[in-house]
């Protein structure tokens, strides 16, 4: 199974558009699994008609403190990198929303006072949306700070059996994006030819490089200032895979929740060709 991440840096450049188009184009010949990793605001499912959806709750480790056993020695407080545990005079205070579920406190507690608790952080959804195309997405609970556990779970649940897995990454270049791109065979960076676009593209390209994932660029709303992206691509020896022209007709469809993959039929071929070349 080949894994392709669609990332961007800047938000709103067309990751979901490219991910959905690419998935649909590929599904004509191959078995495809589309993973919407933007768990804070998933939107791929909007572009598919309602299909029966399975749900699954995702939980993370949460230290449960046995106050009888705890003698307030403070080892957990020392080891906690995230300042969740504080020893008061006669009890332990726990700030749950800061916990990163590392289990350090549980490991070091000499009294065995900390046991394996769990806390729901969001839900996973999966449905067969079209012939040969399966969609997985997750929705993070309101108030949660970390998206990565859900992305991890989405990627872990990815069963073999598909020929291609397309990961629609969250915007930005921080942990959720890195978690999505890590371990992929190829990353498609969707960029728009604006000063904001190039600024964030540079950061995203750096992250992708650090993760050791080969990448190419798709310019969306192409036309006009393409050369700022072209210059950067040439300098960094990153190939421009495709240019999606600005099209009012396409935007009108999009605003109604329709992505017409036959608008730009060459997209999938170009990306796959480039991926196989590398």
């Amino acid at each position: 199974m080949k894994k392709i991440a669609i990332a961007s840096g800047k938000g709103g450049t067309g990751k979901t558009t490219v991910a959905v188009m690419l998935s649909r184009l590929l599904s004509k010949k191959f078995k495809v699994r589309l993973l919407d990793c933007d768990v804070e605001n998933p939107d791929c499912h909007i572009f598919f008609s309602d299909a029966p959806t399975e749900k699954e709750e995702v939980c993370v480790f949460y230290p449960e403190v046995d106050t009888e056993k705890c003698n307030c020695c403070g080892r957990c407080q020392q080891v906690c990198e995230f300042n969740c545990l504080f020893v008061m005079k006669d009890r332990l205070m726990f700030f749950g929303e800061l916990c990163h579920s590392c289990r350090g406190c549980k490991l070091v507690c000499p009294q065995g006072a900390i046991s394996e608790g769990s806390r729901p952080v969001g839900k996973l959804f999966n449905s067969k949306v079209e012939k040969n195309l399966h969609l997985d997405y997750a929705l993070m609970n309101v108030g949660e700070a970390r998206a990565t556990p859900l992305i991890e779970k989405l990627k872990k649940n990815l069963k073999s059996g598909a020929d291609y897995a397309i990961f629609d990454s969250p915007p930005g270049a921080s942990c959720p994006m890195a978690e999505t791109v890590a371990g992929c065979n190829y990353a498609v960076l969707v960029a728009e030819p604006t000063p904001f676009g190039i600024y964030d593209l540079k950061i995203a390209a750096k992250v992708v490089k650090k993760l050791g994932v080969p990448c190419g660029i798709v310019i969306n709303r192409s036309g006009g200032e393409d050369k700022i992206i072209d210059n950067f691509a040439r300098q960094k020896k990153i190939n421009i895979l495709f240019r999606i022209p600005y099209s009012r007709k396409f935007s009108c469809y999009y605003s109604k929740g329709v992505i017409k993959e036959n608008f730009f039929p060459g997209l999938a071929d170009k990306i796959i060709k480039e991926m196989l070349r590398i």
Partner: protein, 109 residues
């Protein structure tokens, strides 16, 4: 009485820091002699949980009162847990904050 004050610098003439958790220093001032000890706040550069970590610093110094600006909800519960009272002050310098607090306290008594 040991009074902790969130501070931008290491002297009594330093500005009072307006944020409790992320202030660079605490000055632990002896209210009788006005002698003080500056303490670096390691929480000022922490990625998360700065409020409770700052409260821990004050607890370790044995102060039961802190004069500061804004206190976040986590810091508030940690301070309460340690039995430390937080007082919001609007004074400019640490010296003014301590003197103002002591004056207010006297009139209350």
């Amino acid at each position: 009485m040991k009074i902790a004050v969130s501070s931008q610098g290491g002297s009594l003439n330093a500005q009072v820091a307006k944020n409790f958790g992320r202030c660079p220093y605490f000055l632990i001032v002896d209210s009788e002699t006005m002698k003080f000890e500056p303490v670096y706040n390691p929480a000022s550069s922490m990625t998360g949980g700065a409020g409770p970590a700052a409260a821990r610093v004050i607890n370790e110094k044995g102060s039961k009162i802190v004069l500061t600006g804004q206190v976040g909800p986590n810091a508030m519960s940690a301070l309460a847990g340690y039995g430390i009272e937080a007082v919001t002050v609007s004074s400019d310098t640490v010296r003014e904050a301590v003197e103002g607090y002591l004056k207010n306290k006297k009139t209350e008594d």
